[in-house]
């Protein structure tokens, strides 16, 4: 299989090489993987639609009583769709990184990690059974940890990495336990067989005789959702994502915007035959998605760190996707996944270029007026921002409205989700253009003016943008010089391609015109009852119009507040002080988790340490054993007097004693 070949190529690329060659090798292998993915696409298009699910088993990993753990991959339209996005965006971001990380001392290490990540992600989306899925899932988490903590001498970065890893492990545990529930009833780890068994009634039957889900299935799906939420940064397991912005910017673009965080969306879409039997789990997913998109949008309004604004925007957009795939809008959710990968990666790359121009500074408060100095970055930001805000004909417009349309079609309380989605769209437009206007409009700051005269600003003393601590530029910290897109061809190529994607990707699926994504993914969702073409045209038109109007309104509000009347932001802030405080403090999620989970866990740990560890383990088990051995050895040592005659006498006496004993016995 081509994708397997590509994955192996990537796996072989995972090694450290001296010099800049590591970057080109890394990029090349990912590009080969992308070509292999295109090959798989062509191959799968050549098959009849009914036969487009190809499960291939490489070898049997472990086959014990009742467990069929094989190294099997599943190639169907859904996984091909995912590997196309993953390998395509990854190839571009690798290309971008060659310039962006050029001055960094950990260049080869960076590309080794990045290739490892792509390998894991491809493993995740190609996995044909739960076992391989869990392996890929955990690998991806590990790669994310390595890359967030890439600048490992920066305390904030290592802390963020630990946080991300811990929360991801919570998700892993959910995934493993959910798999157990499903395995218990279906008796197989293979996806297709498990779905078939569930469809045949492994989880009980409805009174009419059709398949139904019982409590175990709901529990299993809920646990899978925990895994999806942790990976996709949905409330309440989202707090790691903004902190993950401590990693290098291309990492944020690749892992924490375009690919890894969408794994949860992929998981729900992949498990759709199970989720459709457990509507309760679907509802939880949809509500969590809607909540996340609203809360993340409001937080995005108040943050000042440019990367964090984009991070909250990512959470919000993934909220849309999770909501979409949870209400049955699978194609729409995955379509949004694709367009989001394009425009969000583009926004992050542009932000990286901007941060380069600011010599590592990330605060929006210190930026301004870069419009003339960085025309290319500005253009990319505008394209990404328009796509994110859902302005036609940019890509985000079609995908976001597609999700909301299907949500609206479900009727009932889904109208609440529909409304939440449109409120979220308004918030999206406001925070996106707040960011753009603050960074690029207004009076040029010193760095912008220097750049207009052709001089790129470099910090005299490198500092940590989060805390202001001084740093050096040796390994473990960012390199001494920063790069901007205007001066690096690889960055320009990568951003240009993504900008084209952000503009044009929406055209593959225009309502009532073409349904490329719908048709392509149909074989993967053949068993789904909810996978239907759109019917309610009235809703379609009103939705599209509403989406456009809200997007434009959001931009207008942002323009009015941050450009036309520069002082008005402060007025609004002063008037709505409690709300503003809430948003700036991210709805106090960090504090709540600290109080509710971290502190009790730490207290329990201390208690266990003082009682079990000290008294039981140390004093009784360890102390008792050593005491015993010490006393015994003291007794034996006393006998070792060194008097040879004494030993001889003992020997004679002992032998005589034994002799007498046997004499008396006989």
């Amino acid at each position: 299989m081509f994708p397997l070949l590509g994955t192996l190529v990537v796996a072989f690329g995972y090694r450290s090489l001296p010099g800049r060659s590591a970057g080109w090798i890394g990029t090349g292998t990912i590009f080969l993987a992308f070509l292999a993915a295109v090959g798989a696409l062509l191959e799968i298009q050549g098959l009849a639609p009914a036969h487009r699910q190809v499960a291939s088993s490489l070898w049997s990993y472990a086959s014990t009583a009742g467990v069929d753990a094989q190294m099997s991959i599943l190639v169907d339209p859904l996984s091909v769709f995912m590997i196309l996005i993953v390998s395509g965006v990854s190839a571009l971001i690798h290309l971008y990184s060659i310039s962006y990380m050029d001055e960094d001392r950990g260049f080869a290490r960076y590309f080794a990690y990045l290739n490892f990540f792509v390998f894991s992600m491809l493993l995740l989306v190609l996995a044909g059974n739960f076992l391989l899925l869990i392996v890929g899932w955990a690998f991806v988490g590990a790669a994310s940890y390595l890359l967030i903590s890439f600048w490992y001498r920066r305390t904030t970065a290592t802390k963020a990495g630990i946080k991300a890893f811990v929360i991801n492990v919570v998700g892993d545990a959910g995934l493993v336990l959910g798999t157990y529930f499903i395995f218990k009833h279906t008796g197989t780890l293979e996806f297709l067989r498990a779905f078939h068994a569930a469809g045949a009634g492994a989880f009980g039957h409805t009174p009419a005789g059709g398949p139904a889900g019982d409590g175990d299935l709901v529990a299993g799906c809920m646990l899978l959702l925990v895994g999806a939420f942790a990976k996709s940064a949905q409330i309440p397991l989202h707090t790691w994502l903004p902190d993950a912005m401590e990693g290098p910017t291309p990492v944020s673009a690749l892992i924490h915007a375009a690919t890894m965080v969408t794994a949860g969306v992929y998981l729900i879409a992949r498990m759709h035959p199970l989720f459709e039997l457990a509507p309760a789990a679907q509802d939880v997913g949809a509500i969590a998605g809607a909540t996340t998109l609203l809360i993340a949008g409001t937080i995005g309004l108040a943050q000042t760190d440019i990367k964090r604004v984009i991070a909250y925007s990512t959470m919000s957009q993934i909220g849309y996707m999770i909501m979409g795939v949870s209400v049955g809008a699978y194609a729409a959710g995955l379509f949004h996944l694709m367009t989001h990968a394009f425009f969000k990666a583009l926004l992050f790359m542009a932000a990286g270029s901007l941060i380069g121009a600011m010599a590592g500074e990330q605060s929006l408060d210190r930026m301004g007026g870069f419009r003339k100095a960085m025309p290319f970055t500005y253009g990319c930001f505008i394209v990404g921002g328009l796509a994110l805000s859902g302005i036609p004909p940019f890509s985000g417009f079609f995908s976001k409205d597609d999700i909301l349309l299907v949500t609206g079609e479900r009727g009932g309380w889904h109208w609440g989700l529909y409304a939440a989605g449109y409120i979220g769209a308004l918030l999206t437009a406001i925070y996106t253009f707040r960011m753009i206007f603050r960074a690029f409009h207004g009076a040029p700051v010193g760095e912008a003016r220097e750049l207009e005269q052709g001089h790129l600003h470099h910090a005299a003393v490198p500092t940590n943008p989060a805390t202001g601590e001084e740093e050096d530029t040796d390994v473990g910290f960012p390199g001494p010089y920063h790069t901007i897109a205007e001066r690096a061809l690889p960055m320009r190529i990568a951003m240009g391609v993504l900008a084209l994607g952000a503009i044009g990707a929406g055209l593959v699926q225009i309502p009532k015109v073409d349904f490329v994504i719908d048709d392509f993914l149909r074989p993967s969702f053949a068993s789904s009852k909810l996978y239907e073409p759109h019917t309610r045209n009235g809703l379609l038109v009103s939705g599209l119009v509403l989406g456009t109007l809200l997007g434009l309104a959001g931009i207008a509000i942002a323009y009015r507040v941050w450009v036309a009347r520069p002082g008005s932001a402060a007025v609004v802030r002063a008037r709505l002080r409690p709300v503003y405080e809430l948003f700036v403090n991210k709805w106090y999620f960090d504090e709540a988790i600290e109080k509710l989970v971290v502190r009790p866990a730490a207290a329990a740990g201390r208690f266990a340490q003082s009682t079990f560890e000290r008294v039981f383990v140390q004093d009784t088990l360890i102390g008792g054993t050593t005491g015993l051995v010490r006393a015994g050895s003291a007794a034996v040592r006393a006998a070792q007097s060194g008097f040879v005659r004494y030993y001889a006498a003992l020997l004679v006496l002992g032998v005589t004693g034994v002799g007498f004993y046997f004499l008396l016995q006989s």
Partner: protein, 99 residues
């Protein structure tokens, strides 16, 4: 002549040797007493060999003599080494190996 006489002499020689090993402090005498013990055992072996009418015991006695020769070699060598390093020629004083 009954075998008991031979065995009695053998036991007496062995016991005298053991007593010497335990009571004497001069390593040279201790070695001599060890030889005495080995020869007591040899006597018993040869006596049994004669009783059964085959040569097994005598062969074993020859082996014991070989071992005794080796032992004396090493023992005397050690005593000479102790003497040349001007250490006391007394097994009770040589007790550095105590626990």
């Amino acid at each position: 002549m009954s075998i008991a006489w031979y065995l009695a002499v053998s036991a007496i020689v062995f016991a005298l040797g053991a007593l010497g090993v335990i009571t004497r402090r001069n390593p040279l005498v201790v070695l001599l007493c060890l030889e005495l013990m080995l020869n007591g055992a040899n006597l018993a072996l040869v006596a049994f060999s004669r009783m059964w009418g085959n040569g097994d015991g005598q062969i074993l006695a020859l082996v014991v003599m070989t071992v005794a020769a080796c032992e004396v070699c090493i023992g005397l060598g050690m005593i000479v080494a102790i003497y040349r390093r001007r250490l006391p020629i007394d097994v009770d004083e040589l007790r550095e190996l105590q626990g």
